[in-house]
């Protein structure tokens, strides 16, 4: 049985990995080598393709912008969404269900619907081509609120009630009791936001067009505009741009996979 299963899984795994392997091989070739027929499996080791990335793009700046955007959005969403989620899960306040319904309605709307007005807001604030333009609209997430609310609701109430009886106010209950309990949920959200922000293309492409203010995904896309089909350079660039998040994934694999699995838990 196990043998037959491996007989299916091994070729499938190869299909998953082969593109990455070919990407690495090509990234070390010259254009002439890459267009050789039949192809050579071993490249001549043209490391300049990687070096060229730093000449062609303000790669360091773009890396930093992407880190700032991903970290800023993640930290902001974890804090703001958990606050709102806690309130929706545990506190009583007027129009709670109506407001929650309004929050949820944002989830139903495709994000492209927000883009033109958001762009106008950024232009009016003079924020085009700025870090805050990358971060600010991404601080608020109906999805994050929803995910964490489900999580808070699944937590036992005893600890919280005991703290309340000890006279702790909502802020202390939230900060000292609920947040530590909700850690797995917060990590799940953080991992997802980090991943989505890093790989996000549409908004950064639209709002930051100055190469020094671009994110890696937009910078990489612009590289194609300049270099069309110089594949070795494109392969080196795409590897450099996607490597950081792949590295984080390898270290935090469990959290990533649990984070994704969380989105699938019906609620």
């Amino acid at each position: 049985m196990a043998k037959r299963v491996h007989a299916v899984l091994i070729p499938a795994a190869l299909v998953m990995v082969a593109p990455f392997a070919w990407q690495i091989v090509t990234s070390l070739k010259t254009l002439s080598e890459a267009t050789q027929v039949p192809p050579s499996l071993l490249p001549s080791g043209r490391w300049e393709n990687y070096g060229r990335m730093f000449d062609l793009l303000p790669f360091g700046d773009q890396f930093l912008n992407t880190v700032l955007m991903a970290v800023g959005r993640t930290a902001g969403q974890v804090l703001l969404c958990s606050m709102a989620a806690y309130a929706f899960a545990r506190l009583r306040f007027p129009f709670k269900n109506v407001i929650f319904g309004v929050f949820l309605s944002v989830l139903m709307v495709p994000p492209q619907l927000f883009v033109i007005p958001q762009y106008q807001i950024m232009a009016d604030l003079g924020w085009l081509n700025s870090i805050q333009a990358l971060i600010v609209p991404g601080l608020f997430s109906a999805f994050g609120v929803f995910l964490l609310r489900q999580f808070f609701m699944s937590l036992p109430k005893e600890l919280e009630e005991a703290a309340r009886l000890d006279g702790a106010g909502p802020v202390r209950v939230y900060w000292s009791i609920m947040l530590p309990l909700a850690r797995p949920g917060l990590v799940a959200l953080a991992v997802l936001v980090l991943l989505w922000s890093w790989n996000d293309l549409f908004w950064p492409l639209v709002v930051n067009t100055d190469p020094e203010k671009m994110t890696l995904s937009a910078g990489l896309a612009s590289l194609q505009g300049q270099f069309q089909t110089d594949y070795p350079v494109l392969m080196a660039g795409s590897l450099l741009a996607s490597l950081p998040v792949i590295a984080v994934f390898v270290f935090l694999q469990r959290q990533f996979i649990q984070g994704i699995a969380h989105t699938g838990i019906k609620g």
């Binding site: 010259t30 267009t35 027929v37 110089d230 594949y231």
Partner: protein, 421 residues
């Protein structure tokens, strides 16, 4: 009432000046009221080419030496976003004082009153006439040409030698070109004589259309030329090469663009601009294998000429200073400096340094071409029919519809668009 307008203008001017030098150093200079022309003035100057930014800054410094009260701040916006950003700025009334303009966009800006016509009498005969015409709208000149580019045939000497084909000569014809393409094609090695690129009309279709005696747009800018049989002959020049398999088909050129095919030694003759010299002299493969020849003659000899011009914002707070800067940029002194480090200067007689920079290529070819150069086809809303050109002609390039039919559809679409202008 008048007082209020003046206060308003003053505040507005201050805002413009402030935003112009917001990232600069001397913020004190910017807060001066616009009317006080004697005080220090900062002009913003928008450009799109990162390679040319240093030269532009040098030119700005040179200008400030002669005009100590005027500082120029060079603002780089990359090509991909230049027009979007400029449009947004012009919409908000905050366009840069002086900026680069190109042919396809010029009439849109002129007809909407975004740029200021030149009022002083200038001697325009020092620039190629097609460029002066390109930046003239309703009889008024709006910009002074800064640089220029023409088209040539870049060819791979190694492939010519291998196929035993003599290098292209001055005065060669379409037939010579077609025969050379046939001989240079080696299907077994995946080598093609040439590549009938579709995505860049400036280097391809516009040239052959003119050479065939056709036209893209009527001189009054009202009518499309795509239904003219001679124009169609200019298009067929390329589609015939694809049919004969002396050029890769469109699918292949999409997967790997002609430029890369040329740089990988798969294309023997590549139609390219004078600007390609930077690319080909820097590329490891092409730097010692290629050279350049004039475009072959059809019914007549022709190349498309284009060039960037410096224009002034209609709403600049410093019209006098902006004009003196534009005038300086259009001078021989500026052209001499530009020719050493940038593209071909437009000012006649200043191009020697540019040619001398790369003795390995026959760059004089591009200058000789000026004598038979044709203007870049434009209208008020060039972008609209540029999109139609691609959409319709793609079908002819793939062979999905005959060239005549695609051209007829294109002419009809283009005429509709022109009628709306």
């Amino acid at each position: 009432m008048r007082k209020w307008t003046r206060v308003g203008a003053g505040v507005f001017g201050a805002i413009v000046a402030l935003s112009a030098c917001s990232s600069g150093t001397g913020s004190g200079a910017g807060t001066q009221a616009p009317k006080e022309a004697s005080g220090p003035v900062t002009l913003s100057y928008a450009v799109w080419d990162a390679n040319q930014k240093p030269v532009m800054e040098e030119l700005a410094a040179e200008f400030s030496k002669a005009n100590p009260t005027v500082k120029v701040q060079v603002q780089l916006t990359p090509w991909a976003d230049y027009w979007t950003k400029l449009k947004a700025a012009a919409t908000g009334g905050a366009a840069p004082d002086v900026f680069w303009m190109n042919g396809p966009n010029f009439q849109l800006y002129a007809s909407n009153g975004v740029i200021r016509p030149i009022e002083e009498q200038v001697d325009a005969s020092v620039y190629p006439k097609p460029l002066v015409d390109l930046y003239t709208y309703q009889g008024k000149l709006y910009g002074l040409p800064k640089d220029m580019d023409t088209i040539g045939v870049w060819y791979n000497k190694t492939l010519f030698d291998a196929a035993g084909v003599p290098y292209p000569k001055d005065g060669w014809t379409w037939t010579d070109f077609q025969q050379a393409a046939a001989k240079l094609t080696d299907a077994g090695k995946g080598v093609y004589g040439t590549a009938a690129q579709l995505g860049s009309f400036q280097e391809y279709q516009y040239n052959t259309i003119t050479q065939a005696g056709g036209y893209v747009i009527s001189p009054d800018g009202r009518k499309s030329g795509y239904d003219d049989p001679k124009t169609i002959a200019g298009l067929k020049f390329w589609t015939d090469l694809i049919t004969a398999k002396h050029s890769p088909d469109l699918k292949t050129m999409t997967d790997t663009t002609p430029l890369q095919l040329f740089e990988a030694g798969k294309i023997a003759m590549y139609w390219g601009g004078s600007w390609n010299v930077t690319e080909f002299s820097g590329n490891d493969y092409t730097k010692d294998k290629v050279d350049v020849a004039p475009l072959p003659k059809g019914e007549k000899q022709a190349t498309i000429i284009h060039g960037v011009a410096n224009v002034m914002s209609a709403k600049t707070a410093h019209p006098a200073e902006a004009w003196s800067f534009v005038k300086f940029l259009g001078s021989k002194q500026a052209a001499d400096l530009l020719g050493k480090k940038g593209p071909i200067p437009a000012y006649t007689g200043t191009q020697g340094d540019w040619v001398g920079a790369h003795p390995e290529f026959k760059l004089q070819t591009f200058l000789d071409a000026v004598s038979y150069a044709a203007p870049f086809p434009v209208s008020k809303n060039t972008a609209a029919w540029n999109e139609a050109e691609l959409t319709q002609l793609t079908k002819a390039w793939t062979g999905e519809v005959p060239v005549e039919q695609a051209a007829a559809t294109l002419a009809a679409t283009m005429n509709d668009l022109l009628a709306k202008e």
